[in-house]
C-alpha cells in the first residue's frame, strides 16, 4: 500500500472509491475516461507534490469551501493530507515555528512547489494593510512566487481583486496576476470557488505536468467554459419568456427564470449549474436566488445583485416630485432618529465594575 492508499483507507475511502472520484473528475474536465485512471495513479505516486498556501487579504471562505464541503471530503483529503506543506490557517505551528516551516518548505521545494494564494494583495501604504509576522503580503509574494513552479490564485479576491478591490478600494487591493507576471498562473475565481475545480487543476498538473487549458482570464476552460445560463435548468423558461417578477410570486413558485430579479447567470462563467454545491446537491438558482456573478471580475461593483442585466447600472434618474418627496421623508426620518437617540441617551445608566460584582453577588 502506498502513502495515499494508506491515508485513504484511514479515512474510510477505498481504492475503488478514489478511482470513482478520479473518473468523475476527468468527466468534469471533459478529459477521456481513461484519464481518471491516470489521475488516480499520478496522485498515488509515492512522491507527493508540495503545496504552499498563503492567505492574504481574504475571509478564509475559500479554504472552508475546500476543506469542509462535505464528509468525507476527498478534495479536503487531497489537500490537507496529501499535499499541503504550509498553510497558516490549517497548520498547528504558530509564530516563529510557522515562519520557519514556510522558509523550509520554500527552500526544500524550490522550483517545484505549487503556490496557492487566496485573497488579494493590498498595495496601499507599501502593502502595510495586510501583514504576516511583520511582513507585508506584497513582500512575501515577491519573495515566494519566483521560487514556485505554478501559482494558483484561489477565489475571486486573488483572481480579480474581489471585495477588497471593490470601490473605493481603500487598501489599493490588486489581483495576484498584477504582481506575479512571469510564472504560469491559473485563476480559480468564485466567492468561494467550487472545491472540485481546485482538485481538478491540481490533479491535471500532477497527471500531465501542465496546467489545463485556460480562457482569456486564465480560468480553466473545462470549468469556466460555459455560462451559468447555458447550463441552467431554468433556461427553458427564459427561452419562453417566462420570468419571476418577485421572489414570492406565482412565477417564482413555478421555477421560472430569475433574470428580471437580477440573475447574472447569462454573463457569468462558472460550473455551478452542472457541478453544483454541497456534494452535488444544488446551486443558488435551485434555491430560488439569482446568480450574483461572483466568478467574474468586479462582480461587487456590477450595479447591484437585484438589478436586471438589461437595466442601467448608473444612478436612477428620478422625477423632481419624487426627489422632493424623498427629501421630505428623509428629513422626517432624521428628526425621528435624533429624538430616539436623545431618549436612549437620557435613559442610559452607566454601570461600574463594582455594580456588576454587586449584581453577581446578589444572584448567588
Amino acid at each position: 500500500m502506498n502513502e495515499l492508499q494508506e491515508r485513504l483507507a484511514w479515512r474510510g475511502i477505498s481504492r475503488r472509491g478514489f478511482l470513482k472520484y478520479c473518473t468523475m473528475l476527468a468527466s468534469l474536465m471533459a478529459l477521456p475516461p481513461a484519464a481518471g485512471q491516470a489521475m488516480a495513479e499520478a496522485l498515488a505516486r509515492a512522491r507527493r507534490p508540495a503545496v504552499i498556501w498563503l492567505p492574504f487579504q481574504e475571509c478564509t471562505g475559500c479554504l472552508e469551501s475546500i476543506t469542509r464541503s462535505h464528509t468525507p471530503t476527498i478534495e479536503g483529503l487531497i489537500f490537507d493530507a496529501l499535499s499541503l506543506d504550509y498553510s497558516e490557517t490549517l497548520m498547528a505551528a504558530a509564530g516563529h515555528q510557522a515562519e520557519q516551516a514556510l522558509k523550509r518548505a520554500v527552500e526544500d521545494n524550490a522550483g517545484r512547489f505549487i503556490l496557492v494564494i487566496d485573497g488579494s494583495v493590498p498595495t496601499g501604504l507599501n502593502g502595510a494593510y495586510s501583514c504576516i509576522a511583520g511582513r507585508s503580503n506584497l513582500d512575501l509574494l515577491r519573495e515566494v512566487a519566483p521560487k514556485a513552479a505554478v501559482v494558483i490564485a484561489m477565489g475571486s479576491c486573488a483572481a480579480f481583486g474581489g471585495i477588497p478591490a471593490a470601490r473605493p478600494n481603500p487598501t489599493g487591493a490588486v489581483a495576484i496576476s498584477e504582481i506575479v507576471r512571469d510564472k504560469p498562473l491559473v485563476n480559480i475565481p468564485g466567492c468561494p470557488p467550487i472545491p472540485v475545480v481546485m482538485t481538478g487543476v491540481i490533479a491535471h498538473y500532477l497527471t500531465f505536468g501542465s496546467l489545463p487549458e485556460l480562457d482569456r482570464l486564465r480560468r480553466p476552460r473545462a470549468f469556466y467554459g460555459e455560462t451559468i445560463h447555458d447550463r441552467c435548468y431554468r433556461r427553458p423558461f427564459y427561452d419562453r419568456g417566462l420570468f419571476a417578477k418577485s421572489f414570492d410570486d406565482e412565477g417564482a413558485r413555478q421555477g421560472w427564470c430569475l433574470f428580471e430579479l437580477g440573475c447574472k447567470g447569462p454573463v457569468t462563467y462558472n460550473a455551478c449549474a452542472h457541478v453544483k454545491w454541497n456534494d452535488h446537491t444544488s446551486f443558488p438558482i435551485e434555491s430560488g436566488h439569482g446568480c450574483i456573478g461572483c466568478s467574474e471580475p468586479g462582480f461587487w461593483d456590477a450595479g447591484g445583485f437585484y438589478r436586471p442585466l438589461s437595466a442601467p447600472a448608473g444612478p436612477l434618474k428620478l422625477a423632481a416630485g419624487a426627489v422632493a418627496a424623498g427629501a421630505a421623508v428623509g428629513v422626517a426620518v432624521a428628526i425621528a432618529n435624533r429624538a430616539r437617540k436623545g431618549a436612549a441617551r437620557a435613559a442610559h445608566v452607566t454601570a461600574t465594575v463594582a455594580d456588576l460584582e454587586k449584581a453577581d453577588g446578589g444572584e448567588r
Partner: protein
C-alpha cells in the same frame, strides 16, 4: 400543397449523437476483441436528450449481470444486451449521479480486486484462524 408534403426526412440532432455513440461503441468492441483493450465513452459530456438516451438504452438492451458497488456512494454497473458493453452509473453519498459512462471491457475496471487487497484479505483470514487455534 404544404411543406409537410415535401418528402425530406431530417434526423433529429439528438438522435444523431446517440447513433454516433453506437458507432464508437462498435469500434471499441472490435478493439477489445482484437487486442484485449477496451475503452469507455463518457456520457456526462455528451449532449444527449432524454429521448436520445431512451433510444440508446433501447438499442443496447439489457444483459444478465448487474453489479452494485458501495464506495463513496452507490454505483451500478449494468451489462447491456451487447456483451462487453457495460452501462456504469456512479452516485455520491447523497444519491446524486455524478458520472455516467459506457465501458467496453470483459470485466469493468472497478470490479477486480487488487493484489494488495487480496494480501490484506489473506492477513485477515489468517488472523481469524489464529484465534481458532
Amino acid at each position: 400543397m404544404g411543406l409537410e408534403a415535401i418528402p425530406v426526412v431530417v434526423e433529429p440532432a439528438d438522435l444523431a449523437a446517440a447513433r454516433a455513440v453506437l458507432r464508437e461503441l462498435a469500434v471499441l468492441v472490435e478493439r477489445l476483441l482484437a487486442t484485449g483493450e477496451g475503452g469507455a465513452i463518457d456520457l456526462g459530456v455528451l449532449p444527449l436528450t432524454p429521448a436520445a438516451r431512451a433510444w440508446l438504452i433501447d438499442r443496447l438492451g439489457r444483459g444478465e449481470v448487474e453489479i452494485r458497488l458501495t464506495a463513496g456512494g452507490q454505483s451500478t454497473i449494468t451489462e447491456t444486451g451487447c456483451a462487453g458493453v457495460w452501462w456504469v452509473r456512479h452516485g455520491n453519498e447523497a444519491g446524486v449521479v455524478t458520472s455516467e459512462l459506457l465501458e467496453v471491457a470483459y470485466v469493468p475496471g472497478l470490479v477486480p480486486v487488487s493484489r494488495a487487497e487480496v494480501e490484506n484479505g489473506l492477513q485477515r483470514l489468517n488472523s481469524g484462524l489464529d484465534g481458532l487455534n
